[in-house]
């Protein structure tokens, strides 16, 4: 007889983790931002250790597992920060609601979507230390700015195409299902339901971000070279980095029209900032500048916490039996309807 897979105390902790994932479900897809004036500004007192090349050393494995939502929940209105009591209640509620081991709603699509039980999930168990109610730090309402009419039209077209052709072939399915890009890996990176870890590797002329959620290593040149021509569009955009003091600033352009982030378009200019703020924290901030899509630029901030490596493999295409299952299900439904 097999033994229990994991010791019970650990399991309890893991259940909390899993419950944390629920929180993310309460909120539209996460992202984080921050402007220079926000409370999350890097602490001045900490000086990061140096690489042999003299750069601030950001190498290691970091986790974005956190329960703070990208956007402030609508019911919180102008409340930018939780009190400690509210924060505790929010965390508890979020973990409970996300618990995949719940058995209410049996026989519904919601229950099917809970998929497999809580042990497989890892959404984090805490919110940002500032107790900010959103990862978005700017605009002040903590919400993604309104989409422009052009961006709304684009999104509506995508929805309509998906409605008309949900699964004629794999090309109709979302990019994550096709193992091409997974949203949480970005850029920009966002907290997700599992595989929230990323590894940074630095050399004198490159900064590499290896994300556990899918197989991409984003190799960011630091050599002052220009972006690729605008005619070249890339799934993850074209990233170029530079040091501003102890902060690595990464500019990314040349996105595709198929990789919208919260409604962004292919001409989004993304600026990410990586800053060590203490021995255990790599502050990750980003600003989305895309006037074609958003009423104004917006920013978010995620405190990435040091975690245990190694980053594990994510060989997505090789094991993607789910795609076959989805398409087969679609054919079956079509046959059923035609009878």
């Amino acid at each position: 007889m097999p033994q229990p897979v994991v010791a019970r105390p650990l399991l309890r902790a893991l259940n909390l983790l899993a419950a944390a994932m629920v929180a993310a479900l309460l909120i539209p897809r996460p992202a984080i931002s921050q402007t220079a004036k926000t409370k999350a500004a890097p602490a001045k007192s900490y000086t990061a250790p140096r690489t042999p090349d003299g750069q601030p050393d950001m190498q290691g494995v970091w986790s974005n597992a956190i329960l703070t939502p990208l956007e402030r929940p609508a019911d919180l209105k102008d409340k930018a920060f939780f009190t400690p009591e509210e924060a505790a209640a929010y965390i508890k509620r979020t973990i409970e609601q996300g618990n995949k081991d719940r058995r209410d709603g049996s026989g519904t699509e919601t229950d099917v979507s809970r998929a497999y039980n809580d042990f497989w999930w890892d959404r984090g168990t805490s919110i940002v230390k500032t107790l900010r109610t959103s990862l978005i730090t700017d605009p002040p309402d903590g919400r993604v700015p309104a989409l422009t009419p052009a961006a709304q039209k684009r999104a509506a077209e995508v929805r309509e195409a998906r409605r008309l052709h949900p699964a004629d072939g794999p090309e109709d399915r979302p990019l994550p299902e096709r193992c091409i890009v997974l949203n949480s890996a970005g850029p920009p990176m966002s907290p997700s339901a599992y595989n929230n870890n990323y590894q940074v590797v630095q050399t004198a002329k490159t900064f590499v971000v290896l994300n556990e959620m899918i197989h991409d290593a984003r190799v960011i040149p630091l050599d002052g070279s220009p972006h690729v021509p605008s005619s070249i569009r890339l799934w993850m955009g074209d990233s170029r980095g530079r040091w501003e003091g102890d902060t690595l600033v990464v500019d990314t352009t040349n996105f595709t029209s198929q990789t919208p982030f919260r409604g962004s378009g292919e001409n989004m200019h993304l600026t990410e900032r990586f800053t060590r703020t203490d021995s255990e924290t790599l502050l990750y901030q980003y600003t989305v500048d895309d006037p074609e899509s958003f009423a104004r630029p917006w920013s978010a901030a995620i405190p990435s916490l040091r975690t245990t490596g190694p980053i594990l493999e994510y060989a997505c295409n090789e094991g993607n039996y789910g795609m076959e299952g989805l398409l087969s299900a679609a054919r079956f439904e079509e046959k059923k309807k035609s009878k």
Binding site: Y116, N117, Y194, Y314, A329
Partner: protein, 135 residues
């Protein structure tokens, strides 16, 4: 907190239905809520792979006929990080699976719960409201 739990449950429900990206792919597009299944059998093959794990099991019916089923789980990475290894589920282990069958009627299901012969839930640590303490 003034927000009622009902509101949050409603939102969570909507998002779970509308945002399958959390589970990498849309389980509701693959499995049928109208086809709940309870499978009992032995582990025949374990694939701790991405984007989703699969546990293959042999299910014996009343006539002794054996049918192979595939049960879908999550990404194994979090499990590995928590100390789970492939040895955690040896071949031949008796398990029961509660899940939903594939829409196309094939012998695939998602693994809502996987239970060992002695009643212990596999990969569950006590947060299951249905689980009895001490199990």
């Amino acid at each position: 907190m003034r927000t009622s739990v009902a509101v949050y449950l409603g939102i969570a429900g909507l998002l779970m239905a509308a945002a399958p990206a959390w589970a990498h792919h849309a389980f509701a597009a693959e499995f049928d809520a109208q086809k709940p299944v309870k499978l009992k059998g032995t582990v025949a093959k374990v694939e701790f792979i991405n984007p989703h794990s699969w546990i293959h099991m042999d299910v014996k019916d009343a006539d002794g006929k054996i049918t192979r089923w595939m049960v879908e789980g999550g990404s194994p990475n979090a499990l590995f990080r928590r100390g789970v290894t492939k040895d955690a589920l040896p071949l031949g282990t008796e398990i029961s699976v509660d899940g939903y069958q594939a829409k196309d009627g094939s012998n695939r299901a998602n693994g809502r719960d996987i239970t060992l012969a002695d009643g212990r839930k596999l990969f569950v640590g006590g947060s299951n409201p249905d689980e009895q303490p001490g199990k």
